[in-house]
Subunit: 366 residues, 2 copies
């Protein structure tokens, strides 16, 4: 362990990064624009052929009557929850303690919309049917994130999801899907997006996670909700004169990668197996991934694991991760998200990297 | 007057449109990206070389210590006003009755930020020093829009602007500049952007009006304000993973057109003269433009003027306007905004168009 190079640098320079689709550079946009001659007209404040055609396409794919394109999921989800609150006359929504809205949005929902929140379930596990049964009837809406990203991308059994939906509908509690990674879980559930969305009153999907686009989101639901969401989109400052850079790239990467979700999922399972077979001080959460995503947890301090991964990366040119975060229990963790890059990684070289990592892990715990 | 073609269609098909820079199509983005090899890294949630370099460039140009790039002015301005309210402990802002915030934003400022508003001055005239002197001290911030777009782009004398600024500073009232068209008024005031901005506590500028970019805005001010604005940008859902399509195009069109504002202004003045010399039933507001922008008012009903302009457009291939709106007094009006196209219009053909318009106007009022 020379410690002379950081993990981020080693990852950036290596020949075989294992995670992601590729570099997030301007090429991502240029590729999406390569097929256009430039004569396509800009959308104008949410109107125009390009944006309306894509919204209709996504509404059909998600099995809902209407859809609205947003610059971000942060904006789309706050607005969906606000509308559910206004329509039900309630001021409270429930979500997981590690929901994106709770930990990544500077409390926009509370600060801008004055909506109270109920954190359902514990931080380190999924929301289950028994949790949902505890909800008071003053809750306007329950937000479910499928898969639950911050705990490694976990999912409830599909039958339980159906029960949760039925329970909420019986109690007048709206159900919103944070589908930031909805496309990525379709192979595991073996359902269409429309089947899953039918369980929810509103759904947000993203175009830059598994699909690898530039940015952008779709909110879909009943026409009353989508019509109201356009008014709130204007209020939030998201009704830009031109959203076409995001619309065109979202459409392009949707077509290019929607058919590859089963491949990413299979690759994630096989990579997770390598981690779980590596050494007793390292494991994946969940053990068997249910999408292209999982987390790697280790008993080692962050700096030690970082240094090991940097050394493995330099020695084998295999980039397993670009960052490691410390856990409260003294261990460490990082996220693995499979994209186009994985298929190009030479399997022998990958085995070498895991053999070297195993050696280091065993030496450390000896 | 055949009435067989709409004004919008005639304008779209004509050889010599007089207003604007060009079609708002994907070519606008492609031109801005033509110089990039694609290896430039994306910004990531507001961080990264491309966005930070452009923010620093605009802060320097506007003479302020810091600047933040926003997807829209709607978002940037609500946030600036919210911060002024929070910092002063007041809940009220003042602006013109036809401010963008009052008529184009679905009351976002009130609905999201619960800020009360004072509409200063009358709808059809500028805010003057005497109006500002009427402000109560419970007003956190006065927003001035320079030029005042909805009344044809008018400006107060510069000395009076300095007096307004001094008055507000003496009373603890913050001053915010809606500089959507700030670049466009620099030749008339014969001041630098930094000189004008020095009179204000915060300034918003836009990149798709006179500059003709794709979308995007800058908010500039003291570092406490810009730091707080980033938190609110996240809350609004404007802190996108990638804003580079707007950043790169804003930078490109700023460089390409910032030096042409004096030309657009001169062209606007000469076109306004042609209108004012045309017939007594048509005139410009203001009579002498102070930027690239002015409004054309007529005594004729909207449909009559529309039909005349469509006929002139078909007969001469000169597109003077693409739309006309009805006024409350039975007359009609439209906006003229000079951009790159004007210089390419054959002057003889333009004179022909005005001669034909004059004939029609005189025949109508006879």
């Amino acid at each position: 362990m020379n410690g002379s190079i950081t993990l981020a640098e080693a990852f950036k320079n290596c020949k075989h990064p294992v995670v992601g689709h590729g570099k997030r550079n301007v090429r991502v946009l240029l590729d999406a624009l390569a097929g256009t001659d430039g004569n396509e007209e800009s959308d104008m404040y949410g109107k125009g052929e390009t944006i309306e055609r894509f919204q209709a396409k996504m509404a059909a794919y998600l099995g809902k009557p209407d859809a609205v394109f947003f610059p971000s999921g942060t904006m789309a989800q706050q607005i969906a929850l606000r509308i559910h609150c206004d329509e039900t006359g309630k001021r409270k929504v429930a979500y997981h303690p590690l929901s994106h809205l709770e930990i990544h949005e500077e409390d926009g929902l509370k600060e801008l919309h004055r909506i109270e929140t109920v954190r359902l379930a514990d931080r380190d596990r999924l929301i289950r049917l028994d949790d949902v049964r505890l909800l008071d009837e003053d809750v306007a809406c329950l937000l479910l994130e499928l898969p639950q990203r911050e705990i490694g991308g976990q999912l409830p059994p599909y039958a339980e999801l159906e029960e949760m939906s039925a329970y909420c509908r019986g109690r007048g509690i709206r159900l919103h899907l944070d589908g930031a990674r909805l496309f990525e879980i379709l192979p595991y559930y073996d359902k269409s997006a429309a089947q899953i969305c039918a369980l929810f009153d509103s759904v947000y999907v993203s175009f830059y996670k598994g699909l690898g686009g530039v940015a952008g989101a779709i909110l879909t639901g009943e026409p009353t909700l989508t019509a109201r969401s356009k008014v709130w989109k204007r209020r939030h400052g998201g009704d830009l004169i031109s959203l076409y850079p995001y619309v065109i790239s979202s459409d392009y990467y949707f077509d290019r990668r929607i058919g590859k979700m089963a491949q990413y999922y299979a690759e994630a399972k096989s990579l997770a197996e390598m981690y779980n077979d590596c050494a007793h001080t390292i494991r994946t959460v969940p053990k068997a991934p249910v999408s292209n995503l999982f987390h790697v947890h280790s008993d080692l301090p962050k700096e030690v694991l970082e240094s090991m991964l940097a050394d493995v990366c330099e020695a084998t040119d295999i980039g397993l991760a670009s960052w490691v975060k410390a856990l409260d229990d003294g261990g460490s963790a990082y996220e693995v998200s499979i994209g186009d890059r994985y298929a190009a990684v030479p399997i022998e070289r990958l085995r070498e990297a895991f053999a070297m990592l195993r050696e280091k892990l065993l030496a450390y715990s000896a």
